[in-house]
Symmetry: C3
Subunit: 157 residues, 3 copies
């Protein structure tokens, strides 16, 4: 099923996901910059309506499952930034690269499982085009105590 | 005022900023690599004349304001590396992407405010072309105990 | 000697390095994605035959020299992923950018020396074309307790 080329905007509707307004940068930068056919998207946290939904360290304050939800919400915000930059997610050629930082307790080693919350959504929405290269790493703290921060590079038409 | 297209080399002079010699890599790599019209600049710390000016954790050893100064100095070193690669900063089409790591005390959440020290300088020097995508994250330690480390991608003519 | 343009596949043989099968992703992503002439390679750890060879914090559990070995092994895995994507390493035009995260003890500042284990191998194998831009940073923990994680961007024909 994921080998088909889904229509991403339609898939979002089927999944009941309404993209928010593009996240307002926390500071002196912009949500996304296009250079040639690559769009570089700023690091996003698990914010909804301007509120941090998932805060704290995964492996201490939050479970892996909660961390996955945080990663899913952060990547939805990244898609909102991407859509604002290019007009429609149907113009995505390929999700190229994702970096996921997990706010991690000492001795927590399951960052890949947490960041899967983001990676799996990209595959659900974009099918094969959603399969990306990725680094999942740890931080001992993050801006606003985000449980995760996700940055993304996409190739577009 | 930032919507105008300033002449970056002239703006640096107006700001009284003299770019240093391109930073000598700490190890087996180079300060910048160009691939097509993108220049990837190596991670830079708050060094001046080969000395670390700002060392330690922001939120413990250093204030947010000191962290901002560290970020500003690190991005000046990044601009020096970029200038060495392309000859003149006037050839910059767009600052594309910045990643800022803040050497952070446990429970410190203001990485965006710290990295603004770098982002605001880019906008002062490059105007609209200086507005970039960005991730601000934390590390519990950094090379040479740098207070911040900044890496940059620029699009050039 | 490194100014010559070596044949990378031949150099690997001379160095006695046999690339493993491309690393199996730990999760819902792929080892490498090509966009134009850039290949983005997923973060790699010091795994061999599916086992973590170097685990723990450099500066506490591991020495700098052991960390260097971990970085060398991680970048060999990155080269395996790159080769799978493009067919032969002889198609590499330039190693563009490397990010190295070092699983670091508190107060450990020698991340550049550790990541040199990866950078020096790239120069041994690719000569001048192997000289890359780089960021070396710290994490207090990493997936599977990897001693290092390495991600890479390469430019290819």
């Amino acid at each position: 099923m994921t080998s088909a080329q889904p229509n991403p905007e339609e898939r979002l509707r089927e999944l009941g996901i309404e993209l928010p307004a593009a996240p307002k940068p926390l500071a002196a930068y912009v949500p996304a910059v296009r250079a040639g056919d690559l769009v570089f998207i700023s690091g996003q946290g698990p914010l909804k309506d301007g509120q941090v939904v998932w805060a704290g360290q995964v492996g201490a304050d939050l479970s892996v499952e909660e961390g996955r939800e945080a990663a899913r919400l952060a990547v939805i915000n990244a898609l909102a930034a991407l859509k604002q930059e290019v007009g429609s997610l149907d113009r995505v050629v390929r999700m190229v690269k994702l970096v996921g930082w997990v706010n991690s307790a000492a001795g927590f080693y399951q960052q890949p499982q947490v960041i899967n919350g983001a990676s799996e959504l990209l595959e659900e929405v974009f099918g094969e085009r959603g399969r990306h290269a990725r680094s999942a790493v740890a931080a001992h703290t993050l801006p606003l105590n985000f449980a995760v921060e996700i940055e993304l590079i996409a190739q577009v038409q």
